[in-house]
Symmetry: C2
Subunit: 342 residues, 2 copies
């Protein structure tokens, strides 16, 4: 049984929303009708999809009627207000905001890591922070095989993660700096051109929102509520893909060759690790790709069962839009397995 779905995309004109619509197309997701939603300033904007044009509209009561599947790629506030309405209308929801991620009743999903736990009764499925996704894809195999005693992660997060305006600001500030002029900062509290900013999100205690998300979401997705993990999140002046320097203490001894083998078998992960040829994951290579790249794989001799590695992934794809579509593909299976509503 195969049927096409009525699919809503909330935040259709944002960077993630646009990537999501493109990925729905390239993965041949069976969309009968696409309903793009956006903020007031984008109302009326045309979205091309599979040869047809859809017009962006604002969210209104009843707008999710007959929608099978709604992707939310907008703010936490939008999700908080409108996700419950989409569910009441009978839709499945894949929410990429942080609004429901840590709700114990809501699965937080990276399909390759914990997708097999999902059931059809999960109407609301949350996608994690982009930095979390690429981390847990790499940690999963280590956790399964050797156990995770402790994880220390430092992130190299791109400017684009803060939105299209932030990206434009990086470009304009960079041009200004190169020509010796001053440039205002609007998207960030500090200039980002040729600078690293050790703050992503607002502070909760002494950790930033981003750091807290990485720690809490990793525990939830890996099913390890007591996982010892600490994170430092740094914004760097790049345009595509996040990097993460990861240090892991495993519970039990491993061989590096076995780690490589385990990662070779891990869906969603690609090993890029040939130091002698200067091969390792980099943002300029990973942009537009679906994988999480792992490299610089080496034993950390400073602790028992220690491992260092470097992961890079396209934050818009596996970090957000692709991951959401992959979750949507689970929903698709459930819907297609059911007799069609009359």
């Amino acid at each position: 049984v195969s049927r096409s779905l009525k699919v809503a995309v909330v935040g259709a004109t944002g960077a993630v929303g646009q990537a999501l619509i493109s990925i729905l197309d390239s993965r041949k997701f069976p969309v009968a009708e696409l309903l793009p939603f956006a903020s007031k300033r984008s109302v009326g904007r045309e979205i091309s999809f599979q040869g047809r044009t859809s017009i962006c509209r604002v969210l209104t009561p009843g707008c999710f009627d007959n929608v099978d599947l709604a992707f939310f790629d907008a703010s936490d506030a939008v999700s908080q207000e409108w996700v419950p309405q989409a569910i009441l209308s009978g839709a499945w929801v894949v929410d990429n905001s942080a609004a429901f991620r840590m709700d114990p009743k809501v699965p937080l999903v990276v399909p390759e890591v914990n997708g097999s736990h999902l059931t059809e009764s999960d109407r609301l499925l949350a996608g994690p922070n982009c930095s979390t996704v690429q981390l847990v894809v790499a940690l999963k195999s280590l956790s399964d095989r050797w156990g995770l005693k402790r994880v220390v992660v430092s992130t190299y997060k791109i400017t684009r993660g803060a939105g299209i305006e932030a990206m434009a600001e990086l470009s304009s500030q960079t041009l200004a700096r190169l020509s010796g002029q001053a440039a205002d900062s609007k998207a960030f509290v500090h200039p980002i051109a040729f600078n690293c900013i050790p703050q992503i999100g607002s502070f909760k205690n002494d950790y930033t929102g981003e750091e807290t998300k990485i720690m809490e979401e990793s525990r939830k997705i890996l099913g390890l509520p007591e996982l010892k993990i600490t994170a430092t999140a740094i914004r760097v002046p790049t345009l595509h893909c996040h990097g993460e320097s990861v240090n892991v203490e495993c519970m039990t001894p491993f061989k590096i060759s076995d780690v490589r083998q385990a990662w070779t078998e891990q869906a969603g992960l690609v090993i890029q690790d040939d130091p002698s040829s200067s091969v390792y994951p980099m943002g300029i290579d990973a942009v537009g790709k679906d994988y999480v790249g792992v490299g610089r794989i080496r034993r950390d001799e400073s602790v028992d069962n220690g491992l260092n590695f470097w992961v890079v992934s396209d934050n818009l794809r596996k970090g957000a839009a692709l991951n959401a579509v992959q979750i949507g593909e689970s929903v698709l299976q459930w819907i297609q397995a059911k007799p069609k509503k009359i």
Copy 2:
């Protein structure tokens, strides 16, 4: 007794050499005569210093005759060949190359950390890798007071650290990228514009030269040959100052307030840590400054006695030239304490 010295600067036209000459001036180092040495292509270039002009020359046998103090800011190969000759000529040498750093007979010096161990019989004094300097200035107080059980560091190293050509390449590549053009990579094996490169130096086993330097040099400077430390060094597309995300396990329990107090008393270190006002160390603030800035100070709950922090320093100043001049100031004291040669 005060007397002025005949001072040689090898690598006088390089970024570190130029910063060093400027710092000798601003710290009123008593220079009777400045001898700038450079490679062939810079021969004849004029160096202004304290109102006089010196002409760059190449190194030749006997060129260090009557030199009191020689700073080397050139390649490892130049130091390997010429440092011994400078010492045979009777000069004290401060060498910023890696040529002699790990020689057990040569002190590797960050004055605020281990400068008190120096004696007049130390004719050759090495300055560490720039990434090492800012790390050990922060680790010193922790080591003294609570002991270091283990250190995990990830670096955010600027492009300039790879030389003036690398900096120019970052600028030209960045402009090309912003205007949608391709750009060649010469200074690095991969493009650096808007990219992070997880390789600095060539690989030794699975660690890069840079990572090995950070680990080995930190052990030597802190006087902890068995220190458990691991490093990941990443090149980021910035122009000024290195950043480092540092995770430390101390041997004994600490209060964060005591860590702050210890760092307040640490020479060379400045605490910049007020998250509520978005105050933390950043390269755009630290450029041209003499301090190592430390911020994002917070307990790491993933391990006993765990601490996370972020350090930033100007790689040309405390990371290289300033540190060398400070070492030179020790030599100055020894020389001034002696009766003048006849």
